[in-house]
């Protein structure tokens, strides 16, 4: 099970952020106004499991109206303004670096195929934090443990959809089995494309690529939304890393032996 977030219909209402905090009892860490458009959440982290990004761009577009026709590029040279919104979330990777590197087994894969941190096992070592290519996980201040989206594991067990998806008023956040969502997403991509929005692309929907359990329909390059353009499952190389370490260990042992060649005194 996973998410398909269609950013073309996101209206930046942040209902997903609020619903998530309410249901999961995530601390509110309301800071100051950032001055970064309407975004005062800034990033995913231990206390933000949904984050709505707001991107303001100078781009030749018609005046934005409801519906897709407002997004079509207008005549050449006409200056305009485009406002993109996108609700980001943990990707629940099908091959998850955070899960692989967790030394306690606190991070596990659920029966729904999602990735969850067991808070009663996590010892706060922080290894999963730099392992994640999306910067999703973080340690909670004053708590010492790592927290992230659980894809509402408890609600799923009760046959309910995640809080954010249920709260989303435009169905920008859709929840369901991944293969169904991918089919839906590809259909939607074609539709948007035919309406003349040729910048649209799916991010993370290709099973052969980086396997994301939460993927997106974006209107610009991933880095514009703060997403990595070419994420990598770094932990696929763990075996070869150990090979390099074993070779270096062997070299160290040989070096010590060599230091005694030519007399010990």
């Amino acid at each position: 099970m996973g998410f398909f977030t269609d950013t073309t219909v996101c209206i930046g209402c942040k209902a997903c952020e609020v619903a998530c905090k309410e249901w999961n009892d995530v601390p509110d860490t309301i800071g100051l106004l950032t001055g970064e458009s309407y975004d005062n959440t800034s990033a995913l982290g231990a206390d933000n499991w949904r984050h709505v990004a707001f991107v303001e761009q100078r781009k030749p577009v018609k005046v934005q109206e409801a519906g897709l026709e407002g997004l079509e590029p207008s005549a050449e040279g006409e200056d305009g303004f485009r406002w993109l919104m996108s609700s980001d979330v943990c990707k629940h990777c099908t091959e998850a670096p955070c899960l692989d590197v967790c030394p306690t087994g606190a991070i596990f894969r659920t029966e729904f195929g999602t990735v969850v941190v067991q808070e009663d096992v996590c010892n706060g070592c922080g290894y999963c934090i730099p392992a994640c290519p999306f910067g999703v996980l973080d340690r909670r201040q004053g708590d010492g443990r790592v927290w992230k989206c659980t894809l509402c594991y408890d609600r799923l067990k009760g046959h309910m959809e995640p809080a954010c998806a249920q709260a989303c008023p435009t169905d920008s956040i859709q929840f369901g089995p991944l293969d169904e969502l991918r089919e839906k997403a590809n259909g939607r991509l074609e539709m948007v494309h035919e309406a003349g929005v040729t910048d649209a692309r799916l991010y993370g929907a290709d099973e052969e690529g980086y396997g994301m359990g939460a993927f997106f329909l974006l209107l610009d390059d991933p880095e514009v939304y703060g997403l990595p353009p070419d994420p990598e499952v770094v932990t696929r190389k763990t075996k070869s890393l150990w090979g390099a370490a074993a070779a270096a260990a062997g070299a160290l042992a040989l070096g010590v032996a060599a230091a005694f060649a030519g007399g010990s005194r």
């Binding site: 730099p130 290519p133 999306f134 880095e223 070419d230 260990a249 160290l252 010590v256 230091a259 005694f260």
Partner: protein, 321 residues
């Protein structure tokens, strides 16, 4: 730049595409204990085989020094690691599972085995009891020491942090060389010149290799080597290269003078510690600035044939880059 690539977001003025200049990755939450652990564990890990080799060569004085260095490092390491945890009281959760996919889990097992073996070997040596057990424990420590010195390189390179992951081939060798240099330095500082001779060779050889591999690593990193020239990492890297080069030269040329050799050893120890701090801080700097993540990945994508660029899917006839 292809047709259809939009302008940067209004908020961006630095020429690199990002979301308000915010990092894509999270910086690690590790604090000062970790680079010191890399240094302590490395020094201990290289000291254990040095103790074994010295005992086989009949060099009692060097054997004892190296054994004590291994013991000191093995004692400090768990304390440093546990103190860095968000929930120190739950450290033992790492020992409730054996999980080879996690370098930290495997490293905890290596450290536990090394600590036990080193403790037994040192106790037998110092108290003069159970000599056979002491010898077996010393051999076990010598076997586990080198992996203890190099696994920490796997630990950092098995992450999404650009300067760590992209240096995955050089880091283990860099840590091995640096550990050899510091184990040799301890043996050199605490022994008279004739007993210290093998330790001095280890110091000079390790230090020379440390300098060479550092340069090779930065060359391979290319644009990603920039963190090693800037801010904190830049200062630690400069300090490390200077101290290591000066200390090795002093120990090599003034080996017959105990004072010169000891001073050289102290400089090399400082250089090895600074090297761990340089690597540590460079990782933070490369995670903090989105340009290292985004630009590096964009270049990687450009080098890949279009059919292998599968993160993004465009509609038929859509505008891929």
């Amino acid at each position: 730049m292809t047709a259809g690539r939009p302008e940067r977001a209004v908020s961006q003025e630095d020429g690199h595409r990002s979301y308000y200049g915010r990092p894509v990755l999270k910086q690690p939450v590790w604090t000062w204990e970790i680079p010191w652990y890399f240094f302590a564990g490395g020094t201990a890990g290289a000291s254990a085989p040095l103790a074994l080799a010295a005992s086989l060569a009949g060099n009692r004085r060097l054997e004892r020094t190296a054994r004590l260095a291994a013991l000191a490092g093995a004692a400090a390491s768990p304390a440093l690691l546990i103190s860095d945890l968000g929930r120190p009281e739950r450290f033992y959760n790492m020992l409730r599972v054996f999980k080879p996919t996690s370098p930290m889990n495997l490293g905890t097992w290596i450290l536990s085995g090394f600590g036990t073996a080193t403790g037994l070997a040192a106790a037998s040596d110092l108290l003069g009891v159970f000599p056979r057990l002491g010898r077996a424990a010393g051999a076990a420590a010598a076997l586990l020491g080198p992996p203890l010195a190099t696994y920490t390189a796997v630990l950092v390179s098995d992450t999404s942090v650009p300067v760590w992951h992209e240096a995955r081939r050089e880091l283990p060798l860099l840590f091995a060389a640096s550990s050899a240099a510091s184990a040799g330095a301890v043996g050199t500082i605490f022994n008279p010149p004739e007993a210290a001779r093998p330790a001095r060779r280890l110091l000079v050889g390790g230090a020379a290799l440390e300098l060479a591999i550092s340069e090779a690593m930065k060359r391979r990193l290319g644009d990603l080597a920039e963190p090693y020239e800037k801010e904190e990492a830049g200062r630690y890297e400069q300090l490390s290269m200077g101290l290591t080069a000066a200390g090795a030269a002093l120990a090599a040329l003034g080996g017959r003078s105990r004072l010169a050799a000891a001073l050289g050893g102290a400089l090399v120890l400082g250089g090895a510690a600074a090297k761990r701090w340089a690597v540590f801080k460079a990782g933070f700097q490369s995670a903090r600035d989105p340009k290292y993540t985004v630009d590096h990945q964009r270049e990687r994508l450009q080098r890949r044939p279009p059919e292998e660029r599968r993160t993004e899917t465009f509609a038929r006839g859509g505008r891929g880059r």
